[in-house]
Subunit: 249 residues, 2 copies
Amino acid sequence: MLKEERQHIILEKIQANNKVHSSTLSEILNVSEDTIRRDLKDLAEQGYIKKVHGGAMANPNLPKAKIDHNISKQTERTIIARKAASMIEDHQVIVLDGDLTNLMLVESLPKDLNLTVFTNSLRIASLLCEYELVETIFLGGRVSRQTQSTMGMEVINSLSDIHADFSFLEINSLHEELGITDGDRENAFIKKSIIKSSSQVIALCLSDDIGNIQPFKVGQINWVHSLITDLDPDDPKLNRFRNKGIDLK
Amino acid sequence: MLKEERQHIILEKIQANNKVHSSTLSEILNVSEDTIRRDLKDLAEQGYIKKVHGGAMANPNLPKAKIDHNISKQTERTIIARKAASMIEDHQVIVLDGDLTNLMLVESLPKDLNLTVFTNSLRIASLLCEYELVETIFLGGRVSRQTQSTMGMEVINSLSDIHADFSFLEINSLHEELGITDGDRENAFIKKSIIKSSSQVIALCLSDDIGNIQPFKVGQINWVHSLITDLDPDDPKLNRFRNKGIDLK
DNA sequence: TCAATATCTGCACATATACGCACAAAAACA
DNA sequence: TGTTTTTGTGCGTATATGTGCAGATATTGA
């Protein structure tokens, strides 16, 4: 019997009875209780169930927004997220757009930070619910299934009514002359609005995306105040941006 | 019997009767009174109940999050959610507020439904991303950590700009004379706005909550078009609503 | 006040769990 | 193909947890 298969059966049992005993599972599935316990631990860590002494129960808190760590370029993104997180301090007001790196940024934040965050990402907003001192304001609008974030005029409207200290934007294409571009028209609009609504723009950019050009213009290169990449700030590849007075992290 | 399981049963007993005696619990659950006392102590420390000499009472100022958090009444909620889901048809425009039963409603929806949904619940919006044909519009605003849904003026503003065919509202307190009330002022506001923004109001109400009165008024009883409970529609307990012309499901 | 109950404390016992280890099966790699 | 690495499993042991019991103490209500 495959591990996954077993865990599936366990989940079904829990859904049906709301609880399971390790001992009965061990009997039914013909594996040691140790194995069952390991399965339960797995499932609990993934948030599917709640482990208790003697077995497990259905998870009372629902599907938490979780980050699947099978993201491409995970290492690079982690580096960027950490650098970005270290720039955030108590009492700042920031905007986080709905891209992956920002999600990882939130994961790297210390839990005792006192912040005001504007975001259009369902997952970021969900994650931030675990931060006692963070005031989250969600930018409403039409929800895009792919990104689990809101889009459209309503988001732009809401953004026009706010002002933040910093915005953190994942940039898919950063070119020294043509500036920031994006492959999605709506996304480009949103990013542009976010930039306009904040004093300082922190661009999060994978080094592979430097030099890219995409169809929709977001903004000029000098709109970026700081550029965070997975490279060392002194890396020669970044020279072309250093010369433009952009603060490299 | 698992400890957690026992404690759930105790919680449900308390929610139903508002009080319990250690001695009767010991009898029902077949454990020593010592164990019951330890359970009650646990639950009291977590803030779910108030321990008193001889047993325990419901905690009068139990934060709303704790109630949701606790899967009690899961069976009842499932019944309600299923009935509600069966009322939803292709091409409808509906509003779902952020309460637990609505989340379960979404879980019971067939995946091929073609809908427009307005919601202020992060979890509902997230779930709906799995529905190819559902257009979700999220009502932005300040995010409440406990409920993972947005609150405040912005939500009310957004609601004033929309109109839906149906709204599904979880009702915590439904009284034949005093109508719908709620224990939370903001929540009451939101519910009132949702009602105003839709042609028909479908009230989802646990049978235990019928007859309750809470401090903040949401609306009159005749604002409700359909009432879905965990009871049979012909149950005599519902007569007082039948007489008012409310459609019982 | 007294008697009846409820509660607390320390203890013993059974059971569940974590940890390190060994070993087999599967997967990755040269 | 054969070899190395990873993953999954079971076992023994030390530890932690949950439970019931006895005796001391506190609370309740007449």
